[in-house]
């Protein structure tokens, strides 16, 4: 089978930007093209990752995106979630029809309403929306179940926020930068009981790009290509009531990605992971489901320090989504951070151990309604 590599990456800070979305997008896109020494005309195809109306104030986001992503009169498309855009870009290369594909995800969260009213529109207008469901409400239900059924404590969940916000202090692109103690997290405002303010992701700005290339082209473009080894995705039922929030579709998505990458023992074979955790406890639940620790062991796992930047399997060395949450772009941020770790270019948040295989995860929807798992290698 053909191979596809990430040759270059670029990202903006997650902090509120004073640029217009078009300029904001252009700047990051220009940066990645400059790094690769390419003009936009030389790129085979361009794929946007963005969401419409509720995340951008505009319908048909691709219409506005097109100029900033450099796609004028170029082959291209748009997927609604940035991990989708990434894998669609990979497919274009693997088809043999393109040598280079630029994937850019973009959003200005600072110009739009909070994520809670926005994610409320995932629900249908008849049953779910009138009940007030949104991403945070479902996450709170999920956290309650996680504690009750798996015996994980509230403090153990809060520790994820302490770890990730601590890591974010070393990431120049992070949005929320604040050293917090366990006490700070536990005492922060109860948003949706048992979820507390510091356990919920902020709403961030963000433009993030990856340049993808075929094997032959990648070797010419960079000395440090990062290879796609596996991808898996799966989607759950629509009604939260039809789902078991603790037994979702992530194990299935991970299984597909591991099978494609030939990974038998993720705990040993994966060196570093970027996991999409808009709510602190979700990092623990997702890590269980990714096979990093046993079922119900998420709490003792965080206690063990294994997921710390200097641990056996560092998770979210970048600070994760708890620090930076440009919603539709956050999946590609995870992929870019995993790629930086593999390239050894993560700067101050580069993990101590050697990194040969990395996992990036993205999820959107209510309580992990849809998951994508990407395996990358150096």
């Amino acid at each position: 089978m053909k191979r596809v590599a990430i040759t270059h990456v670029a990202q903006s800070s997650g902090a509120e930007s004073r640029e217009s979305l078009m300029d904001f997008t252009y700047r990051v896109n220009k940066e990645i093209l400059d790094k690769a020494g390419l003009r936009r005309e030389e790129v085979g195809c361009i794929i946007a990752g963005s969401a419409d109306v509720f995340h951008s104030g505009l319908s048909c986001a691709n219409a506005f995106d097109w100029d900033g992503i450099g796609a004028f009169l170029k082959e291209g498309s748009r997927a609604e979630e940035s991990a989708f855009s990434f894998i669609y870009g990979c497919m274009r290369i693997l088809s043999g029809r393109y040598d280079t594909v630029l994937v850019t995800a973009l959003v200005k969260g600072s110009e739009n309403p909070d994520n809670d009213p926005v994610t409320g529109f995932y629900g249908d207008p008849f049953y779910l929306r009138p009940a007030g469901l949104n991403e945070s409400v479902v996450a709170a239900l999920q956290m309650r179940q996680y504690m009750e059924r798996r015996g994980v404590t509230e403090e153990q969940c809060a520790k994820v926020a302490v770890k990730n916000l601590g890591n974010a202090l070393f990431n120049p692109y992070a949005d929320r930068k604040r050293r917090v103690s366990l006490e700070d997290v536990m005492n922060s405002e109860r948003r949706y009981d048992p979820l507390k303010a510091l356990e919920c992701a902020p709403k961030s700005d963000g433009v993030v790009s990856v340049l993808l290339a075929s094997e032959k082209r990648a070797k010419k473009l960079t000395k440090k290509p990062v290879w796609l080894q596996g991808y898996g995705s799966s989607m759950d039922h629509f009604h939260p009531g039809d789902r078991d929030l603790l037994n979702g579709r992530l194990p299935e998505a991970a299984k597909r990605a591991y099978a494609m990458a030939g990974i038998g023992n993720p705990r040993k074979e994966i060196d570093v992971a970027e996991v999409c955790e808009p709510y602190a406890f979700q990092e623990l639940l997702w890590c269980e489901q990714l096979g990093f620790c046993g079922e119900g062991k998420g709490g003792t796992w965080i206690d063990s320090g294994a997921s710390r930047m200097d641990g056996a399997l560092p998770v979210n060395a970048s600070g994760g989504v708890l620090a930076t949450n440009p919603y539709p772009a956050r999946g590609l941020y995870r992929i870019v951070e995993a790629a930086l770790q593999l390239k050894g270019e993560a700067g101050e948040h580069q993990v101590g151990k050697p990194v040969r295989t990395a996992l990036a995860h993205s999820t959107h929807g209510f309580g992990g309604q849809c998951h994508s798992v990407v395996i990358l290698s150096a």
């Binding site: 509720f54 894998i87 989607m235 579709r249």
Partner: protein, 388 residues
């Protein structure tokens, strides 16, 4: 170059005002029909691609969640691709690349829209930016009429001639829709009726404009291996192109429409087509407005610039003409937007596999399908053939 991909099944709903079905029901209707046509079950599907118009149109965001059960996509990998009106072509392209990449053998692609439950024109106005363009945007007719006027003025087309040709396009599309059991508007109209219909945005009149339809379309894409296994007659994907231009309407030339011209050019290169008028057997052009259809003919190289009305009046694009266009009745008679571009692709596939029933163009082997989207901004083309 790369793996070959074919369409092995298509399914469409009965399009129109479907107050008998809820939105997910509509999606399911198309999915069931496509699976039946391809002779497969949901278990055979490796991945699902979905696209609709933006959330404003649906009243729900991220519709891949809402349609999870209807699509049969629970537990499957899903991709949600959207590019406005051109969504139907873009999701088809995604289905193609998913299979061509070798990551899947069979991919189900679904586009849908339930326009009767939303406000289409209000939604389309929100495609414009909120600061400069939105305040004077008047939904789709405003933009497309401006473009039509620009085109007629640029090439010195007398208004009378433009009117006459546009009326003939309306009459022939309505006639064609009578042969299509899926079509929304099924009635015959006369030249006089078109020319005297109520003005929408001058010179565009009611019968120059598509309806707002409820409907869904599903298409099954398969690898060579899966094609053989299915035993179905394949419609091979021979070429595809997608191009977009600037967001601000005034920045590009809509009379010589580069995105339409280059998208077709790209698809022709891949399919090895030099003279589209001669080589293509049938075309399903995305024609929500009669005047605009003529601009597409020129951009796609069916005739020289500025001469489309002459070719139309000569009968070049009628059933039995040199290059029959929209034997299905086209977008002019059926427009569930998120599905429309995919319907064009499905109709093209039906034509080259000889399954188009009453609307079959005799012996069609090579067909073009198209969709347009954004503020006159995006064009997508797919060419399908009976042979690879």
């Amino acid at each position: 170059m790369g793996n070959a991909v074919a369409i092995i099944g298509t399914g469409q709903t009965r399009h129109g005002r479907r107050s008998d079905a809820c939105y997910p029901d509509l999606v399911r209707e198309a999915v069931t029909a496509a699976l039946e046509d391809a002779g497969i079950t949901l278990a055979d599907i490796d991945g699902v691609v979905l696209g609709t118009m933006p959330s404003m149109m649906e009243g729900v965001s991220s519709t891949h969640f809402y349609f999870a059960e209807a699509l049969g996509s629970v537990g499957k990998p899903v991709l949600k691709v959207e590019t406005c009106g051109s969504t139907g072509q873009s999701i088809g392209h995604c289905g193609f690349f998913w299979v061509a990449s070798g990551m899947a053998d069979i991919v189900l692609v679904v586009g849908s829209e339930k326009m009767s439950e939303g406000d289409g024109q209000a939604t389309m106005t929100t495609v414009f930016d909120p600061f400069f363009q939105r305040t004077f945007a008047a939904g789709a007719p405003g933009v497309f009429t401006m473009q039509s006027m620009e085109w007629m003025y640029r090439f010195g087309i007398p208004e009378e001639k433009g009117r006459e040709a546009a009326a003939l396009i309306s009459v022939s599309n309505h006639d064609n829709a009578m042969d299509n059991p899926h079509a929304h508007i099924r009635m015959r109209v006369t030249m006089d009726e078109v020319k005297n219909a109520r003005v929408i945005t001058y010179p565009v009149r009611l019968l120059d404009v598509c309806p707002a339809s409820d409907g869904a379309c599903a298409v099954v894409f398969a690898s060579q291996k899966a094609v053989r296994k299915s035993g179905r007659k394949p419609a091979w994907i021979r070429g595809l192109g997608f191009r977009g231009e600037e967001f601000f309407y005034g920045e590009s030339d809509k009379a010589v429409w580069m995105s339409a011209t280059e998208a077709a050019g790209e698809a022709y290169r891949q399919a090895g087509i030099r003279d589209p008028l001669k080589e293509l057997d049938v075309a399903e052009v995305y024609n929500p407005f009669t005047y605009q259809e003529m601009i597409f003919y020129e951009c796609f190289g069916f005739c020289p610039r500025g001469e489309a009305p002459d070719y139309v009046l000569r009968g070049t694009f009628l059933k039995g003409g040199e290059l029959p266009c929209c034997p299905s009745g086209g977008t002019l008679c059926t427009n569930p937007i998120g599905a429309t571009g995919l319907i064009r692709m499905a109709e093209a596939a039906l034509q080259v596999t000889g399954k188009a029933g009453e609307r079959q163009v005799e012996g069609a082997k090579l067909a073009l399908s198209h969709a347009m989207g954004g503020v006159d901004q995006f064009n997508g083309i797919t060419i399908v053939g009976s042979t690879l």
